[in-house]
Symmetry: C2
Amino acid sequence: MEIVKESLILERKGVKPTANRILVLRTMLAASHPISLRELVMLLETMDKSSIFRVLNIFSVHHIVHAIEDGSGTIKYEICSGEKFCSIHDMHTHFYCEVCHQTFCFKNIHIPEIQLPEGFFMDSINYMVKGVCAKCSRKPASK
Amino acid sequence: MEIVKESLILERKGVKPTANRILVLRTMLAASHPISLRELVMLLETMDKSSIFRVLNIFSVHHIVHAIEDGSGTIKYEICSGEKFCSIHDMHTHFYCEVCHQTFCFKNIHIPEIQLPEGFFMDSINYMVKGVCAKCSRKPASK
DNA sequence: TCCTGTATGCAATCGGGTTGCATTTTTTTG
DNA sequence: CAAAAAAATGCAACCCGATTGCATACAGGA
């Protein structure tokens, strides 16, 4: 329950730990799923959307979070798992439920690797599965 | 070089072959890469954006094209390869070049399958690799 | 304390995607 | 074949997430 846990994370990645940045990081750590800018705006009433946006950008550059596109149209952000940076082997599969519009992390399902053609260099991979999640597939029509 | 090739494709998939739809389909067949609505608007000066948009939607529903999200922020559309519909096994890997902003199809690299957790059902998969393409990696700074 | 660079909030803008509605075109029907 | 109905299209407007310009607030160093 250290108060400064977030500060340490930020400093270790070379980001000055301002109050807002700690706030964003703490909120994202508490969230159990990849989170959108919109959600963060709702959760952080004290912060402006643009400030959150800029914090997320800084976090991305410094490999504190990475963006995932789940096909919902809005970008989701997720805390990087690796200490140094996110390598392919740290990346995992994501699942987007078309019913409840939630994005799930399958942390234990790593992305299968492929062999790229000559001359192509990889920066990141996104393995997105769309469908219906366990909860929504259980209750057919709960509108 | 059959004039009615596109018509046949459309009819086989249950879509009435109007002039505009044939036009869109022909343009997409001619394009060697997944194409965005924006590109289609530029290529098809006679058609309105909303009309192209609606044609693409109809095509999607009838499995003539499918949408892929390459992480560029704009949706790309690609002709379905399968006769009947696009199954997982028809799906292939895509590559988005962060330099030239083009999306490539690796038609011969099929998406490796994963095992979903209990209760999760799959509709579609997107396997997106981001990085630098062969052409852009050859010429370092050609701005 | 003063100065400088960074961080932040506010408001405006941008752009892709989408929709409402009137018009045109096609199909159906008498 | 003409009238009526249905489908397709174009135009303009709208929605909404993402992004930026700018003025202010703040932190750290001289």
